[in-house]
Amino acid sequence: MIDPISVFLLLLAAATPILFAALGELVVERAGVLNLGVEGMMITGALAGFAAAHATGNPFIGFAVAALAGASVAMLFAILTQFLLANQVASGLALTLFGLGLAALFGKPLEGIKAPPMPIGPLRINWIVWLGLLMVPLIWWFLNRSRAGLILRGVGENHDAADALGYNVRRVRIAAIAFGGAMAGIGGAFISISIVLQWTEGMTAGAGWIALAIVVFSNWTALGVLAGAWLFGGVTVLQLRLQAAGVSVPVQLLSMAPYLATIIVLVLISARQKFSHRAGGAAPGSLGQNFHVLR
């Protein structure tokens, strides 16, 4: 019947796009920036990665280009929020709308083409899945053990204090935004290159927003992000299995599951944070606030 190992492998794959995007957004938010443009960066990465993989026949080049593309569009957000001091919520929305449009515009000629095959990594697991799993301890180490990570957390927790101590708040945040963009780009490319195996318009289907919710769920920790991504992967796989098994619930209702699960998880975790000792859970102190000082 259902082979648990292959289900787990499916879960790993389904979780990977969200894992990348959410890990990237985790670093961005720990630096005190709320980038709601994850969906836009993911779709950009999905398209750019797919196009590069198709053009070169090498999926790994595709992922590299996706990272670059994600970071590039993220820079639009960085310019708006870090230099032009625009509202972060609105700028993130703009990035999402722009990214979705841009990808739809340039993606037309690629529709219907199959992705180049991806070499399988150790233990029948995709190399990119391995990379995502590796990023979890790496980011944990970076945030909690490295000097650069300490500075990044300081900037996110209290940007006035970080500035008073001589740290360049803007530079740290731009670097974090670029990293978040690259990670979202890879996550998006995983959907087009390794899951769907082709390009279709709007294929990220809210994955970027789910990633944002998972950062909240994680209580701003790397391990929490992994747990959230797997939870999401599990719900997705389960939903697909139920569809395949021909359960007598309409397909459309089953496919709501990931979104409803996200809402439920968000509510549970927000409630826990709300009623626990510290307001806002472990949310960085300066999250979403712009920094400007007159010298």
Binding site: R147, L150, I151, R153, G154, E157, N158, D160, A161, A162, D163, A164, L165, G166, Y167, K274, S276, H277, R278, A279, G280, A282, P284, G285, L294, R295
Partner: protein
């Protein structure tokens, strides 16, 4: 007098820091103008001036946060022009900030590491924090989160952070404003120890008595310029104040008041911590008579904001917990309380008592809509609001181009006069104010205090919550202290000594008790 000895000693002391003709301008403000002074090795040098005199700008330049437009600085005889704080730290300058530059969610060790150029590895740093903090009698646990520390302990973290870098020049920006008198004594003992070891200390304050008691020399700033330099011990507080303000201080008039009937009563009020952060109020009771001023002292974060919120209606309680003229108001909304005559003015001017981006006219609508009939049946009478704003501006001498000016464009003193004026002109039965003169220049502070006294003379009850003990002693008839959300029994202000007040405030908060 010991002055000749001081002079003799100075002859042997090396000059650690010197400023020559420093100038700095901001749009519309000359923050520093031709400032020159020197700090010697081993001395505690006071930088004295009232709010807005340019003290903070000056030290920010020494610490590399702001760059001067004109002038030269030297540290140990070498030119000192840091482009950022790291460079300043590397050349031996350390600074303890007025509003702490600490990160609440991080641990003591992480905070200290962020303030150092080349912190040692984690374990080693933790060990050094423990040793150095014990050496100076300021014990600290390196793995505690800042959010769990008291104000005094937080300052300890800042000081230890400085000490670990063996600074040549230590800058302290208004360090005692958050400390009880006992904690302040401990701080001065530490500073003296450091000075004796050869560190030059630049001590910024506007508190005259502590400067007279503890500082070796004083440079006095007024309007961005150095107006005098003296031995503070050789002058009375009154003389220092005159130098600082530039003229005699206006004395306020306390006469002509008599206590009447009880107006406001708070009965055994307890409130939980509001959504996560803050202080719970525990069994607070008080009663306030007509014509009386009740002073409530306390170190920041002991429930002042919560008490004001409980009285303003931002936090609700059982109806009977707050009564005005016997009417229960504990469960009433802010609007209902205003209607009944209970008015308040919170501490934070920008963002709480006033909306920074709103004009003064719009800001009248925050609290005066009902009592001044600026709003009828939900409809705003813009004309009435404008003329009320004009009245407040006129009666309280608010310096502003007009009622259309945004609140954030006003100086702290002028905005505070507007906020207090907006409430006073509504002729409240009871007015509760929190930190009415915080960060306000001396002229505005005197005007605000006088307005509160006049209001009480006219028969209203006034509660002044403040961290400025001098202010409370000057204004209040009875004094009580907030400590960890508990309110002490009131005592008549007359005859109360600073030591007694210090004990009411909780003495030296956890200073003797090691937090390990």
């Amino acid at each position: 007098m010991t002055q000749p000895e001081v002079v003799r000693a100075e002859a042997f002391r090396a000059e650690v820091f010197r400023a020559d003709g420093i100038g700095k301008s901001y749009p519309g403000v000359r923050a520093n103008d031709d400032v020159s002074f020197a700090v010697l090795q081993g001395e505690i040098h006071a930088l004295l001036g009232e709010n807005g005199a340019g003290k903070s700008t000056l030290v920010k330049m020494i610490y590399g946060l702001v760059r001067p437009d004109q002038g030269q600085m030297a540290l140990n005889g070498q030119p000192h022009h840091p482009t950022d704080p790291r460079e300043a730290r590397a050349s031996g300058v350390a600074m303890v900030f007025q509003h702490f530059s600490l990160f609440d969610a991080l641990t003591v060790a992480e905070n200290i590491a962020l303030g150092m150029e080349h912190p040692p590895p984690r374990r080693e740093l933790a060990a050094r924090i423990t040793t150095v903090s014990h050496e100076f009698g300021l014990p600290l646990n390196p793995s505690r989160r800042i959010a769990t520390l008291s104000a005094g302990e937080r300052q300890r973290v800042e000081i230890i952070r400085c000490l670990l870098q063996n600074p040549r020049l230590l800058i302290m920006d208004e360090p005692t404003s958050v400390l009880t008198p006992q904690e302040a004594e401990l701080l001065f003992a530490t500073l003296r120890k450091l000075a004796d070891q050869g560190t030059a200390i630049l001590y910024i304050s506007h508190k005259l008595e502590e400067i007279r008691a503890h500082c070796d020399r004083a440079t006095i700033l007024r309007g961005g310029k150095v107006v005098d330099s003296c031995n503070p011990r050789a002058h009375s507080a009154r003389e220092l104040a005159a130098m600082m303000v530039g003229g005699e201080m206006r004395l306020i008039d306390r006469t002509g008041r008599q206590a009447g009937d009880v107006l406001l009563q708070v009965n055994d009020l307890s409130l939980p911590v509001p959504t996560g952060e803050g202080t719970a109020l525990k069994n607070v009771s008080l009663s306030l008579r007509a014509g009386e001023i009740l002073g409530i002292g306390g170190v920041a974060g002991n429930g002042q904001e919560e008490l004001l919120a409980a009285l303003s209606g931002e936090m609700r309680s059982a109806a009977a917990a707050v009564t005005l003229d016997g009417k229960p108001l504990g469960a009433a909304s802010p609007e209902q309380r205003r209607k009944a005559g209970l008015l308040t003015a919170p501490e934070d001017r920008l963002g709480h008592a006033a909306v920074p981006d709103f004009s003064l006219t719009e800001n009248t609508l925050l609290t005066a809509g009902t009592r001044k009939e600026l709003v009828r049946n939900g409809l705003i009478d813009h004309k009435a609001a404008k003329s009320y704003a004009e009245q407040v501006i006129k009666d309280f001498d608010v310096r502003t181009p007009g009622p259309g000016t945004a609140a954030r464009a006003l100086s702290g003193g002028n905005l505070q006069k507007f906020v207090i004026g907006r409430e006073v002109l509504q002729t409240p039965r009871v007015l509760v104010v929190n930190q009415p003169t915080w960060g306000v220049d001396a002229g505005a502070a005197a005007a605000v205090r006088q307005a509160l006294l006049d209001l009480a003379r006219a028969g209203a009850g006034v509660i002044v919550i403040s961290q400025d003990l001098d202010e409370l002693l000057e204004l209040s008839d009875r004094f009580c202290a907030l400590n960890e959300g508990r309110l002490s029994a009131p005592r008549p202000t007359e005859g109360l000594t600073l030591d007694e007040i210090g004990l009411m405030l909780g003495g030296a908060h956890g200073m003797e008790v090691a937090s390990i």
